[in-house]
């Protein structure tokens, strides 16, 4: 079964000093990922951005798989980014759409034995947003990022649902869709109270929300 997973990290809400502490980042990135940073990214990306990029990718992989295996435990140290290609341009022109502009995203390959995943990550001064897929082709992935006014968890939850539903309603205009959670707390899309086979992932952090779904 195909799934989807995304995550967003609000950069204004992270603790930069703490992220740079070894005891902190060691719980998120592996030695090989630190070497990847030092070899390829240390001159173009602050270390704390890299740590949270890794977190967002790993959380996305976890969300992807948790839908299929509700008992799965999130183990950041076991989800390994083996390859990461930087964007050729940092200018992000749009925050919602289908597929990604390869010039503006970090493209990753992630090993989580026995699985391999592919990631797309957008980094701005405000957020890090990642989506993962089982294939390196994201043409069937819809995604969106939005800034909201409130940081209250219930408001974030409502805002991201409203945001994702607006896109879903343009794709399925004659359907009365809702987003709810299943018994395992995974978000699902309902049509007339019946789950449809469009996997969706929701994320929020501080003033930012994001979604991804697979069509």
């Amino acid at each position: 079964m195909i799934s989807t997973g995304n995550d967003i990290v609000a950069l204004k809400a992270i603790n930069v000093a703490r992220t740079k502490q070894q005891k902190f980042y060691n719980k998120i990135i592996t030695g090989s990922e630190k070497a990847l940073y030092e070899g390829q990214f240390s001159e173009r990306l602050p270390f704390e951005y890299f740590v949270w990029l890794a977190w967002s990718v790993k959380e996305s992989v976890f969300k992807y798989l948790q839908r299929l295996n509700p008992e799965l435990i999130f183990s950041p140290s076991k989800i390994k980014i083996s390859k990461l290609e930087p964007p050729s341009s940092q200018r992000v022109s749009h925050f919602e759409g289908r597929d990604f502009n390869k010039k503006t995203v970090y493209e990753g390959i992630i090993d989580y034995s026995p699985h391999t995943f592919y990631s797309r990550t957008i980094i701005t001064d405000d957020f890090i947003f990642s989506v993962v897929s089982h294939t390196n082709n994201f043409e069937k992935v819809m995604w969106g990022i939005k800034k909201i006014g409130s940081t209250d968890a219930d408001d974030q939850s409502k805002a991201v649902r409203t945001f994702a539903l607006a896109m879903l309603n343009t794709l399925f205009p004659d359907s009365e869709l809702q987003i709810d959670k299943n018994n395992h707390s995974c978000p699902v899309i309902l049509k007339n109270d019946i789950e449809i086979l469009v996997p969706i992932s929701l994320a929020h952090h501080d003033h930012w929300v994001g979604y991804s779904f697979q069509v």
Binding site: R18, Q21, F24, K27, S75
Partner: protein, 84 residues
């Protein structure tokens, strides 16, 4: 340290990362950190680091991965305290 004493200290560790203070006051083993206390997953590592400092313990990867609800947090912390 009794389990109740450990729980009371754990509440102080968790407090900065949840706005759901009413639920925090009444947490039990089944309370889920993300689902019930609305803690953002990005803060889970903060809680582990703060717990290490609070109890003067080291929490390894596998143990940290288990710390998703209050009961599992208490189990891990108690185990690590006993290993000191």
């Amino acid at each position: 340290m009794t389990r109740e004493e450990t729980l009371n200290e754990l509440k102080k560790v968790i407090a900065p990362y949840t706005v759901n203070k009413e639920m925090l006051a009444g947490i039990n083993d089944q309370t889920d950190l993300i689902r019930d206390l609305k803690i953002n997953s990005a803060n889970l590592v903060d809680i582990i680091i703060d717990a290490e400092a609070k109890y003067d313990i080291e929490i390894d990867y596998d143990s940290a991965d288990k710390m998703t609800n209050v009961g599992s947090c208490l189990d891990v912390i108690t185990e690590k305290i006993n290993q000191k």
